[in-house]
């Protein structure tokens, strides 16, 4: 029941086959033309996205794949060696460290952020009013500072000399930024990631909650459900698939983390390796070793991981089942 309601009704024109045929042959041509236009409409809407996807997503990936097949050798010059780069990249001594760093970061960041997003969105929705509206804005504010700016900001936050949180850092025994960052980089990046990304998702989940049918929620209350029960048993299951959406959208961003550790490293020289994350390692191959083949291979490997996880999440959560059910 709820699924159709969440999805809303399909656009009227998309199901042309279901419409009754016009009886007069004179009007048939016009009807056919209109039908053709309607059939084409979705493609026109999708076209800008598709063009960008091909130009800036698929084409570079294909070129990256092509590049990854060649090696530059001191003696032999450019050589077609389809597996060499892949083999060297996957056995690189830095990859295990980078992968562990990124895995720790994603493991700290994603679950805690998911819990936070849903907790705050459900609380905001349970007590609507001016206060909740103000808080929605407050939660969104940190998200306005992203990427490199956020990394700089956090560099100040963890430097006891200048941080507004220096009493807290004192309490933790942190005497300088080097101590704060070395060993805690995943934690700092996770905190930064939550601050940057949570606000936007809270708004989206809140909007989804606001679109829930009131009659269902009222029925639950009339049946004697407490606020907690309404939140956990009724509202959460109806918006839970947003968790999958958040996972898919942020997992790739998490595994491809680049800007934050790069900027953070400039403040504490020598404390964060320039190959801290996998994406940084790929960048390092291209820019510091001049080896675009290896860089392409590693970037594609990252892309594959992102794709596999996205597909896994989509199929495990039956993410698209509503659409399939309606078509």
């Amino acid at each position: 029941m709820t699924e159709t309601e969440i999805a809303g009704r399909p656009p009227a024109g998309t199901d042309g086959r279901a419409r009754r045929r016009a009886p007069e042959t004179g009007r048939e041509a016009r009807v056919l033309a209109r039908r053709r236009r309607r059939r084409l409409a979705p493609y026109v809407f999708v076209a800008p996205y598709a063009l960008f996807l091909v130009g800036f997503g698929i084409a570079p990936a294909v070129y990256g794949f092509y590049t990854s097949l060649f090696t530059d050798d001191t003696d032999a010059g450019t050589t077609f060696a389809p597996l060499t780069n892949w083999g060297e990249v996957l056995t690189d001594y830095r990859l295990a460290d980078s992968a562990r760093n990124v895995a720790t970061y994603v493991a700290l960041w994603l679950p805690s952020m998911l819990v936070l997003i849903f907790a705050i969105a459900l609380v905001l929705h349970a007590r609507p009013g001016r206060f909740a509206a103000a808080m929605r804005l407050v939660y969104y504010v940190p998200g306005a500072i992203t990427g490199s700016a956020a990394a700089l900001l956090w560099l100040f936050m963890v430097s006891p000399q200048v941080s507004p949180f220096s009493p807290l850092l004192d309490l933790l025994g942190v005497e300088n930024a080097t101590e704060a960052v070395s060993g805690n980089t995943p934690l700092i990046l996770a905190l930064m990631g939550i601050a940057i990304h949570a606000g936007g998702w809270i708004l989206i989940v809140y909007a989804a909650l606001a679109a829930l049918p009131r009659d269902v929620l009222e029925a639950a209350v009339i049946d004697g459900a407490s606020s907690w029960q309404v939140a956990m048993r009724v509202k959460f299951p109806m918006v839970s698939r947003y968790a999958a959406l958040i996972l898919i959208a942020t997992f790739a961003a998490g595994t491809q983390v680049f800007v934050e550790p790069t900027v953070l490293a400039t403040g504490v020289p020598g404390q964060i390796s320039s190959t801290w994350s996998i994406n940084q390692l790929a960048y390092y191959y291209a820019t510091q070793q001049g080896d675009f083949g290896k860089a392409a291979a590693l970037s594609l490997a990252l892309l594959l991981v992102g794709l596999v996880v996205a597909l896994f999440v989509i199929y495990r959560t039956k993410f698209y089942r509503i659409d399939r059910g309606l078509s």
């Binding site: 800036f56 084409a59 570079p60 070129y63 990256g64 092509y66 590049t67 060649f70 530059d72 050798d73 001191t74 032999a76 010059g77 450019t78 050589t79 077609f80 060696a81 690189d92 001594y93 830095r94 430097s159 006891p160 000399q161 200048v162 005497e175 300088n176 930024a177 080097t178 070395s182 060993g183 400039t266 504490v268 020289p269 020598g270 404390q271 390796s273 320039s274 960048y283 291209a286 820019t287 510091q288 070793q289 001049g290 080896d291 675009f292």
Partner: protein, 443 residues
């Protein structure tokens, strides 16, 4: 399978799509201020594209004034490690946009630029007069030289000296140590009698360059462009690690990075009793960042290691100029790089110790009267300049050398295990780093 067709195909495809890839990487196809017409040889006018950091820009302006016939297009580049390699890498990919001359703030980059796949640095042996080459401080061009071929001209050198606070040393009744054994013993006394004062710093390239390199621990001993010697079981490594063990435990040697604000605070509170560090620390760190009181700092020769009587220096920093092998005006480019490194008037005004001997004398004379120092530091700097250990070469894994040192040796500073264990881990990871940058590693 190597085919010329394959190579050309790859080249072509790269040229066509190179911009797209580069654009995705850095949101820009052309390197900043790149000369777009290196190949277009304008009749008459000689135009050079040069990339220098902000410290070098007044020098370039002066060259422009003195050489109105040369059209210099100067781009100021950041001094971030890796920046030059990134830009050259993109220019190589686009096969366009190389500078004619570039200043390296991290001179180790020349090891990458001289070798494939960069193949950027022009061999200078035939282009620079022997007389000029011989005028550089002894050993200062060894980093630029691979298999007897010169690939860069040194701007300044970062030989280490033993900086100390003369006023504090007198007040505490300490003598400046002449051997590392004395230095270690003094560290124990300082920790007991004046806790909170420091006699050294271990972090990063500063610590590794001072202790392990002056001791001759072979972690970057360049044999040629593709061979390097790494052996952390060498006695040179063991004695440095053993010296540091008690000093790290008692806190007289700090593990903070000298560029950390917390380290600057130690300086501002006047708690740096001694600091073995590069010659440029006087101007850049003690004067500017640590705000040491005037008339207190002085430089002493490096302590000697057991069984030796030469006070070997380590090395930290010191820039170099590289000429592009793609330059259409090779002679003008070499002339520019030579002027920047050897012009006595220009070099004597630089903040760092000039690599060209005659310029160094003039530089020293200009600083002899500086009231900031308790005594003129130049004679010591000059003495130490040719004494940089020859095991300290310029390698393609210099960045990892620094990072891995922090991740292993500095990270182990607080642990009760002997430091040499961490040094050996540093060595084995350096071997991996060297092999992944196309070196054959010998012991």
């Amino acid at each position: 399978m190597t085919t010329k067709g394959g190579q050309q195909r790859a080249r072509h495809a790269r040229r066509v799509t190179g911009c797209a890839t580069a654009g995705l990487l850095l949101a820009g196809c052309t390197a900043p201020g790149a000369s777009t017409g290196n190949g277009d040889n304008d009749e008459g006018a000689t135009s050079l594209t040069v990339w220098v950091d902000s410290t070098r820009t007044p020098g370039v302006e002066r060259y422009m004034e003195e050489h109105p016939d040369v059209d210099i297009r100067m781009t100021t580049i950041p001094s971030d490690p890796g920046y030059v390699l990134t830009q050259i890498s993109l220019a190589n990919q686009a096969e366009d946009g190389w500078p004619d001359v570039v200043f390296l703030n991290t001179p180790e980059d020349v090891a990458s630029l001289a070798a494939p796949p960069f193949d950027f640095a022009a061999p200078l042996s035939e282009l620079v007069d022997d007389e000029i080459v011989d005028g550089f401080v002894e050993g200062s061009l060894s980093g630029c030289t691979f298999s007897d071929v010169l690939y860069c001209l040194r701007n300044d050198i970062g030989q280490t000296v033993l900086w100390y606070n003369q006023a504090l040393m007198d007040e505490f009744g300490y003598e400046v140590p002449q051997t590392w054994a004395d230095y270690g013993a003094l560290g124990e006394r300082v920790a007991a009698e004046h806790p909170g004062y420091i006699i050294g710093g271990l972090s990063g390239k500063w610590g590794a360059g001072v202790y392990f390199e002056s001791s001759g621990c072979p972690t970057r001993d360049v044999v040629d462009l593709t061979t390097v010697r790494i052996d952390t079981s060498d006695p040179g490594c063991v004695r440095a690690a053993e010296l540091l063990d008690p000093l790290l435990a008692n806190g007289s040697v700090s593990t903070l990075s000298p560029s950390d604000p917390a380290f600057a605070q130690i300086g501002q509170e006047n708690r740096i009793l001694m600091l073995p560090a590069a010659s440029w620390y006087g101007e850049h760190r003690f004067k500017a960042a640590y705000e040491s009181p005037a008339g207190e700092m002085a430089a002493a020769p490096m302590p000697t290691w057991e069984g030796e009587d030469v006070p070997y220096s380590g090395s930290v920093g010191g820039g170099a100029f590289v000429v592009s092998r793609h330059s259409a005006h090779m002679d003008a480019a070499v002339d520019f790089a030579t002027w920047m490194t050897t012009d006595v008037d220009h070099q004597s005004e630089q903040p760092t110790y000039p690599a060209f001997a005659e310029a160094a004398e003039a530089w020293g004379a200009a600083r002899a009267e500086d009231p900031f120092y308790a005594e003129d530091p130049f004679p010591v700097m000059k003495e130490q300049a040719p004494l940089i250990r020859d095991t300290f070469g310029w390698v393609r894994y210099a960045n990892e050398w620094n990072n891995i040192f922090n991740e292993t040796v500095v990270a182990a500073a607080g642990s009760p295990d002997p430091l040499i264990e961490a040094v050996e881990v540093w060595g084995s990871r350096l071997t991996e780093a060297a092999e992944s940058t196309d070196y054959e590693v010998t012991r």
